[in-house]
């Protein structure tokens, strides 16, 4: 005996119309990025904890002797501004304005690159003042934490540049604007982490 009523409610694939809902209403990609960033919090958490534990060196120069707060504040400001341009890029693609999006993405990348240049300059200056990677527990922790963040920014820049190229080749239509948004999520996260690092590493005595 068959009870077709039980199965009739089942979603017949044939002829089914595509429904783009996910159970949560958040797209898979965006949810994945949120999860990934949640995971990254713990990674940076581990490195920041390590820095806090080792911030006073037993030998060699300490952060107090080296930090150029005005300079780093300026480069932090640059990175913060890049979040703004990122928001503008996302809103441009939402409106279907590909040209503006490219401009703002480019600006974001450029601001990020400026930050990285500042970091390279800072590392070089510190090295000249006697803070090598292996000098002290502080130096290892400092370079690893800030360098790790720098690598994240660099990866972000590569993604931004890739987006610009995709867009130029016409492979970034409006309906894929979420790609820009997801890259934006990453970029904002990297920014927020820097605010944290800047506060903890440079500002707290």
């Amino acid at each position: 005996m068959s009870h077709p009523t039980v199965t009739e409610a089942d979603a017949h694939a044939t002829g089914a119309h595509i429904e783009h809902d996910t159970n949560t209403g958040i797209s898979n990609t965006k949810l994945a990025m949120w999860l990934f960033l949640a995971s990254e919090c713990l990674l940076f958490g581990g490195l920041i904890t390590t820095y806090l534990l080792y911030k006073t060196p037993l030998e060699g120069p300490s952060g107090k002797d080296l930090y150029d707060i005005p300079f780093t504040s300026a480069s932090s400001f640059v990175l913060l501004m890049s979040s703004l341009t990122m928001v503008l890029a996302v809103s441009a693609i939402e409106r279907g304005d590909h040209h503006r999006m490219r401009v703002w993405l480019g600006a974001t990348g450029l601001l990020g690159a400026t930050f990285i240049a500042g970091q390279i300059y800072e590392f070089t200056a510190f090295y000249r003042e006697g803070l090598g990677f292996t000098t002290s527990r502080f130096s290892s922790a400092f370079y690893t934490l800030t360098g790790f963040h720098g690598v994240h920014v660099t990866v972000g820049i590569i993604m931004l540049v890739s987006l610009v190229f995709l867009s130029v080749r016409g492979k970034l239509p409006e309906h894929r604007s979420e790609t820009v948004e997801v890259v934006g999520l990453y970029w904002h996260f990297v920014d927020v982490v820097w605010i944290l690092i800047f506060g903890i590493v440079y500002l707290i005595p």
Binding site: V6, A13, L35, T144, K171, H175, R176
Partner: protein, 684 residues
């Protein structure tokens, strides 16, 4: 998300890949098309094939780790054993632990999660099929990289926990620990991508009506497990990055002479390490929670309590790590705090055991091989749990820790718990996966032999530990009273190996016998959850049509209805409820891809380069980056693969939204109730 709210919905109806129709695969690869033969396995993105590969690879590494264990046991057969040198013993026990944890128990959990979870929630595949393939290949390359150390100067020799500063170059100058470190970093990438993928799948891709509280317990435990991985792996990664900096670039994170604290490593390692313990056991808990009701012929007792105790274990697992450090000198206040949290994590664990017992109580128990293994888990895990509670009592732990008592404890948890659960899962699901049943008589013999051998091997270690035998010692002297129980344990270990051999024999024996038998029924056990609706072996498209779920154990209640007075009556024949194999041509599935393999192969090349010559790292880096670009530019669906329909499987392209069809939800399913439920549902 306010930004995207006004996003037009219409363009999403674009056939997948349309905008990328001019895709040129960088002149390297043509799009793989094979659906049979080895190529289909290398390029597959099918969660079921990937699950099988996870399982097969894990069983291979299980044999590797098992042989290592047998060598260890043979060395300890008698006082002053001469089979192994101290150095080799240290490498073997380190690699035994590392292999069993990272390359066996975790991947078997991943194998079941990959194969079963999408079926249990009624999905076509996982959220990101190519990332899924990438996770598997990365796990494989991590495992091979790790074990290649045996041929390139010897394995790691610092224990699976690799405490600083013994893990430094000064104290372990060979590359063994570098292989361990980089290998596990790579494995961490696999676990992390896998975790993201599976969490998104559970949260986003459930069949219509499959609310969170209707999910099978195994799916729940997979969700908890993957969340644990998501947050635990980065902590280990942080620790390993520090260790890598120390070992390869002379940093000072664990250099005591520059003021480093060796306990930093321990804290980071165990913040990862203890959730790790729970994420190894929870998948097995999930499996038995689905198996016990089937063979008790009644529903799981206290479904919400089983689920929430699992979630509670997941949460509390984060607050107990320092119980691994009771004697490290963390101070009496920390010791007290962690002793208390550790004791109370026994409560949700105890709730699970009692619920399982209550599930059996009053049932009609069928002692099949999977049921025997499931009951075995309940009992053996009880022993492991109780010895765990005695270790939570911190003053007692100062006598027990780093002795064989602890070795006994965690083998009762991980072998008696996790592995017995996996064996139950193998016997239960074998026909679903491979289309033939494992021989039941051999399966039961397998169970009894394994139970006997397991207890012979590990039960004596309780007493060895309490009577003073330290862990990780390659030799012991006569006169300490260790001889008898070491002998029993060694005999047990070899019988245990034979029980594994019996399992492998059963696989081939049953396959040969199956040729003469009629095709296996889709539902041989009269089971409860919807994965049993699919034909065996499961077709590539999983469900046709995707079922709409109206309650826990939906499949069961398609077969049986409960009368007003609570009695159960059959309302439909199983044959009418299960799905027939269709040609599946109208169902579009994600296309296979080479790129996940390419990226996964690049990672160990980078790692070898870090150890030997940076040029190799550069080549590896180019492969990885090139692979990622090739991947990103490749449309998730092959535009040339004919598909004249619009029922799409999920995709893993970063563009998403356009192709990411969650669960094949249909407009026909105008089931307002389930739709409303879906919207108002809590997320995780």
């Amino acid at each position: 998300m306010a930004i995207t709210e006004d996003r037009p919905v219409e363009p999403l109806a674009l056939p997948s890949g349309e905008t990328d129709a001019d895709y040129k695969p960088a002149g390297v690869f043509t799009r793989p098309k094979a659906s049979k033969g080895w190529r289909s396995w290398v390029t597959t993105v099918d969660h079921k094939k990937i699950g099988i590969m996870y399982g097969a690879t894990a069983l291979f590494f299980f044999i590797v780790g098992g042989v290592e264990a047998l060598l260890l046991r043979a060395q300890l057969w008698a006082p002053r054993g001469t089979l192994l040198s101290a150095d080799l013993y240290n490498q073997l026990y380190t690699m035994h632990g590392t292999t069993m944890i990272f390359l066996v128990v975790m991947p078997i959990g991943a194998a079941f999660a990959n194969y079963l979870m999408p079926l249990q929630i009624g999905a076509r595949d996982v959220a990101f099929p190519r990332i899924n393939a990438f996770s598997y290949w990365t796990y494989l390359s991590a495992g091979l990289f790790l074990n290649s150390s045996w041929f390139l100067g010897g394995g790691a020799d610092g224990g699976w926990f690799n405490y600083a500063p013994n893990n430094g170059v000064l104290f372990s100058p060979s590359h063994g620990i570098d292989y361990w470190n980089l290998g596990l970093l790579i494995a961490g990438v696999a676990s992390l991508t896998g975790a993201v993928n599976l969490i998104v799948t559970v949260l986003n891709m459930r069949a219509p009506g499959m609310s969170l509280m209707r999910m099978p317990v195994f799916t729940w435990m997979t969700l908890v497990t993957q969340f644990l991985l998501l947050f635990a792996i980065p902590v280990l990664t942080a620790a390993q990055v520090l260790l890598m900096m120390d070992r390869l670039f002379d940093a000072n994170f664990f250099n005591v002479s520059k003021g480093a604290s060796p306990l930093l490593w321990q804290h980071l390692f165990w913040i990862f390490g203890h959730p790790e313990v729970y994420l190894m056991i929870l998948p097995a808990f999930g499996l038995v929670s689905d198996i016990l009701p089937t063979f008790s012929r009644k529903p799981i007792f206290g479904y919400p309590f089983i689920v929430f105790s699992g979630v509670a274990i997941g949460f509390m697992g984060w607050g107990v790590w320092a119980h691994h450090m009771f004697v490290s000198g963390i101070g009496p206040i920390s010791v007290t705090a962690f002793a208390l949290t550790t004791m109370f994590i026994a409560v949700p664990t105890g709730v699970k055991i009692l619920n399982w017992t209550a599930t059996m109580w009053g049932g009609k128990l069928q002692f099949t091989a999977p049921m025997l293994f499931a009951i075995g888990l309940v009992l053996m895990f009880t022993i492991g749990g109780l010895s765990g509670v005695t270790s939570a009592v911190a003053p007692g732990d100062t006598q027990q820790t780093d002795t064989y008592y602890i070795v006994a404890h965690f083998h009762y948890v991980l072998f008696g718990g996790a592995f017995f659960g996996f064996m139950a899962g193998f016997y239960y699901y074998w026909s679903k996966v491979f289309g033939y049943m494992l021989n039941e008589t051999l399966g039961k013999a397998n169970f009894w032999l394994m139970l006997l051998a397991f207890n012979l091997t590990f039960a004596p270690m309780h007493i060895l530990g309490l009577q003073g035998m330290s862990r990780r010692i390659y030799t012991y002297d006569s006169g300490y009273g260790f001889e008898l129980w070491n002998r029993v344990a060694t005999i047990g270990a070899f019988i245990l190996a034979s029980s594994i051999a019996l399992f492998i024999f059963n696989i081939f024996y049953s396959k040969a016998k199956a040729k003469k038998l009629p095709p296996v029924s889709p539902d041989p056990w009269d089971a409860r959850t919807i994965e049993w609706m699919t034909p065996s072996p499961v077709p590539e498209y999983n469900f046709d049509p995707v079922p709409t779920i109206s309650r826990v154990d939906d499949f069961w209640y398609r077969k049986y209805g409960e009368t007003k007075d609570g009695a159960l009556v059959r309302i439909a024949e199983t044959d009418d409820v299960v799905q027939k194999r269709s040609d599946g041509k109208h169902i579009h599935l994600p296309s296979p891809s080479y790129w996940p393999v390419v990226v996964a192969v690049g990672l160990p090349i980078v790692a070898y380069g870090l150890l030997y010559t940076l040029w190799l790292s550069l080549i590896g880096g180019i492969i990885v980056v090139g692979g990622i670009f090739g991947w990103a530019l490749e449309p998730p669906d092959d535009p040339e693969a004919g598909h004249d329909d619009d029922d799409h499987a999920p995709d893993d392209h970063s563009a998403s939204g356009d192709e990411a069809v969650a669960v094949g939800a249909s407009a026909e399913v105008a089931d307002d109730e389930s739709a409303a439920e879906k919207v108002g549902e809590p997320v995780g």
